[in-house]
């Protein structure tokens, strides 16, 4: 039975459905992933409308960022995976240079030097590093035998260390964790020997004390202490955590209802539209809302890992797995910190928190996933 025959026998509705799938394939779109992202975007704008205090302009602004982000994703999805691999060194060096430029010329905003202004365009180079990092490490490791030898592991650690250190210096602990994580994830998926992992964990454990005393800023230490006992300074640094836990807890099973969250509506919850937006959502939609959101996130990650597993080339595999896992880290760190489980580091809730360049960077990541996904299909199904 030819393909034409098969289609002819399909009911009208199924044919209509099959067309976008083919269309999507032609444009390197992973339809399932796109559907999940659209769902998250919708949830994000809905919650943001409430969290921003019914501020339509801020929702419209966010929507326009999403437009840019989707466009970026489509563009990135068209890039051949191999081209990404070859471009990796340039992306990496460029990213590091921009980070250096920030250190020297950058704008200081809210006590941190993160922004670079070129003409009227203002952006955070650390966002570029979020993608340049996994691409670089994946390219570097896929070039050799796996699992990587010790010397290559050391080289990878240096590659991870340089931009991470530059971002910590800004200081932006949240982003540096995410950037480092995206690199380390590649290392992990490349089959890094368990004994290296065990050794790393041991070294990390042993270095906690010096990090605490010599490397962390006062405000970072304070955040950790606050997480451990927010009631010690209920009007100062503990305020955010106490109020966000109150918001989450008072949501109960099914929440107070959309736009009915008093903690955010009455300004008790600081940063309700950015990093702490999950508290607004928990308050208004309850545990059921949280579980629903986590389910969508889980599907995104599962989809990402599936793409990784199905990928036929090592570079794509490592990159896809790293992007997906880093996305998970985003979710986990954010929801953990807002609920008082982790110290407060500036990590937004992906696709829900308000933000510009961070969202574009995330969607660029999904574009990479789609590029990998469709390339693998291209290999599997020969063109007619």
């Amino acid at each position: 039975m030819s393909r034409q025959d098969f289609l002819r026998r399909m009911p009208e509705a199924a044919r209509a459905f099959s067309r976008p799938t083919r269309l999507a394939e032609r444009f390197h779109i992973d339809f399932f992933l796109l559907l999940l992202l659209l769902a998250l975007t919708t949830i994000g704008l809905t919650v943001l409308y409430s969290a921003s205090g019914h501020n339509l302009p801020s929702v419209e602004k966010q929507a326009s960022f999403f437009m840019i982000a989707y466009a970026t994703m489509f563009v990135v999805a068209q890039i051949p995976v191999d081209f990404m691999r070859r471009m990796a060194p340039f992306a990496y060096v460029g990213g590091v240079l921009l980070l250096l430029a920030v250190t020297i010329f950058g704008d200081i905003s809210m006590g941190a030097q993160r922004w670079l202004q070129i003409g009227s365009f203002r952006f955070q180079p650390s966002e570029i590093m979020k993608l340049a990092m996994p691409i670089t490490i994946a390219a570097f490791l896929s070039a050799g035998h796996l699992p990587p030898r010790f010397s290559r592991v050391l080289a990878v650690l240096v590659l991870i260390g340089i931009p991470t250190a530059l971002i910590i210096e800004q200081p932006d602990l949240g982003t540096s964790i995410l950037v480092a994580t995206s690199g380390i994830m590649v290392l992990f998926f490349s089959g890094l020997l368990w004994r290296y992992i065990a050794a790393a964990v041991a070294v990390f454990g042993a270095s906690l004390w010096p990090i605490w005393h010599y490397m962390l800023h006062d405000y970072q230490r304070q955040r950790v202490l606050t997480m451990l006992d927010p009631t010690q300074d209920p009007l100062g640094t503990g305020w955010n955590i106490i109020q966000s836990k109150t918001a989450i807890g008072s949501g109960g099973l099914s929440g107070k209802g959309w736009m009915e969250g008093t903690q955010s509506r009455l300004d008790f919850l600081p940063e309700g539209h950015t990093d702490f937006i999950i508290a607004v959502m928990s308050e208004e939609f309850g545990l059921l809302g949280v579980i629903f959101l986590l389910t969508v996130y889980a599907l995104v990650i599962i989809r990402g890992l599936t793409i990784a597993v199905k990928s036929q080339n090592t570079f794509g595999r490592l990159l896809a797995a790293s992007v997906s896992s880093t996305f998970f880290v985003y979710v986990f760190v954010n929801m953990g910190m807002v609920s008082g489980m982790l110290p407060v580091v500036g990590v937004p809730l992906p696709l829900i928190s308000q933000g510009g360049t961070a969202i574009v960077a995330l969607f660029a990541g999904f574009g990479i996933l789609m590029a990998i996904s469709t390339e693998q299909k291209r290999v599997m199904t020969p063109q007619p």
Partner: protein, 680 residues
């Protein structure tokens, strides 16, 4: 071979990778489970706690302050009302933001260092980080407008309206109505839990005068409301509300026109005037001159204003009618005369021969009557009537000495001398009406016969306040029925009943004799006050003059000697009531350092009685204020009144009463000086 090897590597790598994905997925699953457990713990297990906390964040019980009761005079003229005052408060998140806000505010409105000092102090004491702290009181309309225009720049700045006390007559009633002030920490400390509750929404409390003594009635009952507030404490909406109960209004016996008359008649001199409604004991007018503007105290007086008032040599804060104690001098003679009649030491006709001086039996000390210095002789044959009308000291020295201290002491108590009158404002002083026991207790000495001599003419240890003298006048006018003097006539709709303190049993002819004597003071050919009181009188009245010696003023570098000399002169006193046949009003007047009781104090009493009995009868074409008289409002009202009255007279000349000359003739005719001073 090499290709096969390469292919095998790929297979192994893929397998290795799948394993790693599996490990990672498991790890993620574990973390997500932790996360879900965390949210389950917050949202389900501890739901109650957080729901309560959230509700406590959201809903606050707010006291709703009651509106303070108003104060009116007997003609429904407002004496104290409430007006909106605007207060600027700042919510201060962090220090830098606060500094910027204050710098900006400084460019918009006036903020003094003292405002800032109070602000930072209050800011340290605030209970919550986001509590608003008051920075400026009494914003002007201009300032409110400027703040409104720049509102978008002023994050965390609020302007709140609050009702504060307002005294439309400013200093006219300061010593009667008193004032409200901000509740101080000391007030708070003395509050019972019930009071703390009652004052929870109120910032002001009565500090003096009527405002203080009727505080409970004026305050009202606090209401409450449940409000939804945001994190900055701003009320977003009211959920439910129990209305406060407004404080009751007070209607006073005071008559604003009479009060104005008293202030006008005092012509800016220091002193006190009290007028009492004889039939009820209601106080019709009570003036302590100079006064002060009680509005200054309402939202907290500035240090500078307070220092000015406190350091003023004329002591405007001192309530002269309630707290100034003077020797009442000759004004007490009618009481002594009455005691003589009552105890049978004299009768209406019994006369003595006055040589112009008095000696105690067995003593060589000579007590000189004032006439000795004036005329070189005595008053001649003197009975009670002449004794009173000519204020003959010798007559009362003789009578007092024969009666003795104990009888005098006992009798004076019937007139409330040496006792608190019980008037319904705080801080009254009770003067001294001495007795043997009093002297022993106070001075540690026995009572000497010389003390009795002094006491019989209201000198020596005797002290009385102008209010007490008014009560004495009123009690005589009432033929022995002594009312408690009271300011309040009506609380809300409830009449505040007059209170009779005592009703004396006495033969009517005794009262007639005293009335006769006191009428002679005013109307008699040789009455001390005839020249100042009787001209043009349309009714008959009774009066008695007096002179109070001044206690030496402590030498002080602040006061120059000329000033001191002036202030060492005697105080002029006068008590009076009218009409004689059926007295309605009793008056006591004290003019500091004016010397002549008849010449200086009596005309004030005449103004008062004219105003009360004849209406506002300043008999002049125009009220020309004396030098230094600055009550513009009074001048205007009096002139308006005179114009209206003249217009009415021209319209209906038939109704015009007996043609009057000036009620207060120049002090040229008649006896210049009167009472002498005991010369010991």
């Amino acid at each position: 071979m090499q290709e096969a090897q390469h292919f095998k590597d790929h297979q192994r790598e893929a397998k290795l990778f799948r394993n790693r994905v599996l490990v990672m997925a498991t790890f993620m699953l574990a973390l997500v489970s932790t996360l879900i457990y965390r949210y389950y713990d917050l949202q389900i297990v501890n739901y109650e706690e957080y729901a309560t906390q959230s509700e406590r964040n959201r809903v606050h019980v707010q006291p709703v302050p009651p509106t303070r009761g108003l104060i009116f005079d007997r003609n429904n003229e407002l004496l104290a009302d409430n007006k909106a005052s605007f207060t600027l408060s700042v919510v201060s998140g962090d220090a830098e933001e606060l500094n910027n806000t204050i710098e900006l505010l400084k460019t918009l409105i006036e903020i003094t260092p003292s405002d800032l000092g109070k602000f930072y102090k209050a800011q340290k004491q605030r209970r919550h980080k986001l509590d608003p702290v008051p920075l400026r009181y009494r914003l002007t309309e201009d300032e409110i407008a400027r703040l409104a225009v720049n509102q978008h720049l002023l994050e965390g700045v609020e302007v709140n309206a609050e009702l504060v006390r307002n005294y439309p007559h400013a200093d006219m009633f300061a010593h009667v109505i008193g004032y409200t002030g901000r509740i101080s920490e000391k007030d708070m400390d003395s509050f019972t839990p019930e009071q703390l509750q009652r004052y929870s929404g109120t910032h002001a409390i009565g500090k003096s005068g009527i405002e203080s003594s009727y505080e409970d009635i004026l305050l009202g009952e606090v209401g409450s409301q449940n409000v939804e507030t945001n994190a900055r404490g701003r009320v977003m909406r009211v959920l439910d509300r129990i209305d406060p109960k407004q404080g009751s209004d007070l209607h006073l016996h005071l008559d604003t026109r009479l009060q104005e008359t008293a202030v006008a008649a005092m012509q800016g001199r220091r002193g006190a005037v009290v007028a009492i409604d004889v039939k009820t004991g209601g106080v019709l007018a009570a003036v302590s001159n100079p006064g002060f503007d009680p509005n200054l105290f309402v939202t907290g007086i500035s240090y500078r204003d307070y220092k000015n008032l406190n350091d003023d040599i004329d002591t405007p804060l001192f309530n002269r009618f309630l707290q100034a104690q003077y020797p009442p001098g000759s004004t007490i003679k009618p009481v002594i005369g009455l005691a003589g009649l009552h105890y049978g030491f004299t009768d209406v006709d019994r006369a003595i021969s006055d040589p112009g001086f008095f000696t105690l039996p067995g003593s060589s000390r000579i007590y000189r009557d004032w006439s000795l210095a004036k005329t070189g002789g005595g008053h001649g044959r003197v009975n009670l009537k002449v004794g009173i009308s000519q204020s003959c000291d010798t007559y009362f020295w003789d009578l007092g000495t024969r009666m003795g201290i104990d009888k005098m002491s006992e009798f004076g108590a019937h007139f409330g001398l040496g006792q608190l009158t019980g008037i319904d404002v705080p801080s009254e002083r009770k003067g001294i009406w001495p007795s043997r026991e009093w002297k022993r207790a106070a001075k540690g000495q026995a009572w000497y016969p010389g003390d009795t001599v002094n006491m019989s003419i209201g000198q020596g240890f005797v002290l009385a306040t102008p209010l007490q003298l008014a009560v004495v006048a009123s009690t005589i006018a009432n033929r022995g029925v002594r009312y408690k003097p009271q300011f309040v006539q009506r609380i809300g709709d409830k009449i505040h009943e007059p209170i009779i303190e005592e009703t004396m049993e006495m033969k009517p002819e005794y009262w007639d004799a005293i009335f006769d004597g006191m009428a002679e003071v005013v109307h008699g050919p040789r009455g001390t006050a005839r020249a100042y009181m009787s001209p043009g009188a349309e009714y008959r009245m009774a009066g008695k003059s007096g002179t109070a010696q001044v206690v030496a003023i402590a030498q002080n570098a602040k006061y120059n000697s000329a000033m001191l000399q002036e202030r060492h002169r005697d105080h002029a006193l006068f008590i009076a009531f009218a009409p004689l046949e059926d007295p309605k009003i009793a008056v006591a007047v004290m003019v500091e350092n004016a010397e002549g009781g008849s010449s200086k104090a009596a005309p004030v009493a005449r103004w008062m009685m004219d105003a009360y009995l004849l209406g506002y009868s300043l008999d002049a074409d125009e009220f020309v204020p004396p030098l230094g008289f600055h009550h513009a409002a009074i001048i205007k009202r009096l002139n308006n009144y005179i114009a209206a009255r003249n217009a009415a007279r021209e319209g209906k000349p038939a109704v015009e009463p007996v043609k009057n000359t000036e009620p207060v003739p120049p002090a040229s005719a008649g006896i210049d000086a009167e009472e002498g001073v005991t010369d010991e």
